[in-house]
Amino acid sequence: MFRFLVRRVLGALVILLIISAVTFFLFYAIPRDPARMACGKVCPDDLLAQVRQNLGIADPMPVQYWHWLQAIFVGRDYVGVGHCDAPCFGYSFSNNVNVFDTIMERLPTTISLAIGGAFFFLLIGVGTGMLAALKQGKFLDKAASSFSLIGSSMQIYFVGYIAMFFLVSQLHLLDQPSYTPFTENPGAWFSGLLLPWLVLSIIFTANYTRMTRSQLVEQLSEDYVRTARAKGLSRSSVFFRFAWRGAMGPIVTIFGIDMGTLIGGAIITESTFSIQGLGALAVRSVDDSDLPMLLGVTMIAAAGIVFANIIVDAVYALIDPRIRLA
């Protein structure tokens, strides 16, 4: 297990390096000059050169990339701004804030959104999937299938606005979505995020319902489940200890991918509910051609997905002893 983790983490770092390089060079493929945008409407050439120098984009591209990489490990000195401690992802082109600090400040919002949403969609999705598998072909199964089909056809910006209109504006059942740090006020944290969580879970639940149902139905017809029944084990123990154990693998896989994606920033969810997380930051940095911020957000999102995959593989090996980690 230890060797597996070391190898995978090293591999993940290589992947992140490649992603950063690709993002960096793609940025320069866009015909936009961040220096001109930062400089203002009237910008003489000498001032433009100065701005370019200050932003750190006067050097050739590979040199800039090298500086960017270096800064992550040893920090970097900026003309007129001072030293930026490692891990340094530079300063925003558009408002000069420290990129790393900004991301760390936004991360709890995004993580809260992801974890709370995951709690609801796992609970509801897996729960209804199990019920549907137990009541195959009955009304409950058909109802669950229909709802999951409807749910998976929905979009956050559709369900989100409708839910906000009815539940918040009209019926005043839920609070206007907002983020309060958990450490500050757990109640406000909960009530402010409840609506986004529920809306996220409507969208995601469908996948888990269908996956859980189909996996369980498949496992329940496996020979080893029949053997468990032939041994005289009770239905519930056959269901949970045998069939569910076998069904878990693919569910863990999609859950890992979903969590990775959500930690990278639920862009649409955040903009629908005007919650200032990483997703919102990503959108703005693209709009502003804000290279350091864009790189920072991209790296966080990439790291989220890459590490979620490592965790999924490790969990997979815990579930299924046939899988050897190497």
Binding site: G137, E222, D223, Y224, R226, T227, A228, R229, A230, K231, G232, L233, S234, R235, F242, R245, G246, I319, D320, P321, R322
Partner: protein
């Protein structure tokens, strides 16, 4: 049926198992009767889809209850199983009656150690503690001939070889000393040497505990080795039954004759080609009329009036020996003697 003093240990009476599928009703078992005494082995022979496995899954109550209609009686030690509640069956399964499945790799849970799978049956039925169950599992593994059982008890099925998995499967079935053991082609997937070891193992265990065994197979060689009585199934019905010697030496049904002549014989001349039964097993969704074997039967024309395709031949049993065929006994002696001659 009224219970008599002579009630067999396992008694199946006119068992009918019908599944409803989207295409219609499948008559997987259509009126099957047999008796089995303790310490005896009944071999059930037939092609795939002849209803042998279904019969035995039904005895254990492992059929899909929502889709299956069952008619007839299954009496185990005087207890009616077809109408028993699930909770009652749970107490019997793995305890009084156990089953060995064909494909041990697929039939053992890949997620639990061998020891745990054996031990949990024991714990369920005896209320033993975890450590007692583990001890029992090691003892069982030793009994079925697994080397270093105290080490292998913590292995997973995928770490066992094919023969060892089948032994572990047997250990699991025998952990509560069942009185009825159903073995569903337990040696089909194994090579011949391992097959022989497994058969010896079953015979030893039977001698030791007086277990009644139902041995399902399509391999007549295996039947010759292990069975006391033989029941030949075709299309969900019993076509012939009798002792092993009777059925294998003097078969009375054309289907049994066909099975025997499609098997190579060591003492016969090597240049005589095998004669397979033409055609394929019948669809149980829409089975042939009359005798279900008549479309494939070489002797159907010998029966006057096309009786084979119109009327179901009844199984006439006398002293445990019987067959379901319209041919007269004289006819059979005449026709089947030729076949026997070509074989020997």
């Amino acid at each position: 049926m009224t219970s008599t003093d002579q009630q067999a240990f396992l008694s199946v009476r006119d068992l009918k198992v019908h599944f409803s599928t989207e295409d219609g009703i499948v008559k997987a078992v259509d009126g099957l009767s047999f008796d089995l005494e303790k310490g005896k082995t009944l071999g059930i022979v037939g092609e795939s889809g002849s209803g042998k496995s279904v019969t035995n899954l039904t005895i254990l109550g492992l059929h899909d209850r929502h889709r299956t209609a069952i008619d007839g009686e299954i009496l185990l030690d005087g207890k009616e199983l077809t109408t028993a509640r699930e909770s009652e069956l749970e107490k019997l399964r793995g305890n009084k009656m156990a089953m060995i499945f064909q494909d041990a790799l697929a039939s053992l849970s890949p997620y639990h150690t061998i020891g745990k799978q054996i031990g949990e049956t024991y714990r369920k039925h005896t209320g033993a503690s975890k450590s007692e169950a583990r001890k029992r599992a090691i003892e069982m593994l030793r009994r079925v001939g697994i080397p270093q059982p105290d080490m292998r008890v913590d292995d997973y099925p995928h770490q066992f070889s094919g023969g060892m998995r089948q032994r572990a499967m047997i250990a699991m079935a025998l952990v509560c000393d069942p009185e009825l053991l159903i073995a569903d082609e337990p040696t089909t997937a194994l090579d011949v040497t391992v097959q022989a070891q497994i058969m010896d193992l079953l015979k030893d265990l039977q001698q030791e505990f007086g277990t009644a065994i139902i041995f399902i197979t399509h391999d007549l060689g295996v039947i010759a080795d292990i069975a006391d009585d033989v029941l030949v199934m075709y299309g969900g019905r019993c076509v012939e039954r009798g002792t092993k010697e009777e059925v294998l030496r003097t078969p009375q049904h054309p289907y049994t004759v066909g099975l025997l002549s499609s098997m190579p014989s060591l003492d016969g001349p090597v240049d005589v080609p095998l004669s397979p039964i033409p055609g394929s097993p019948p669809s149980l969704l829409n089975p042939p009329s009359g005798c279900r074997f008549h479309p494939r039967c070489a002797f159907a024309e010998k029966v006057p009036g096309g009786l084979c395709s119109t009327e179901r031949p009844l199984l006439k049993v006398e002293a445990g020996r019987g067959s379901a065929c319209h041919l007269t006994l004289d006819q059979r002696q005449e026709f089947f003697a030729d076949l026997a001659a070509t074989r020997h």
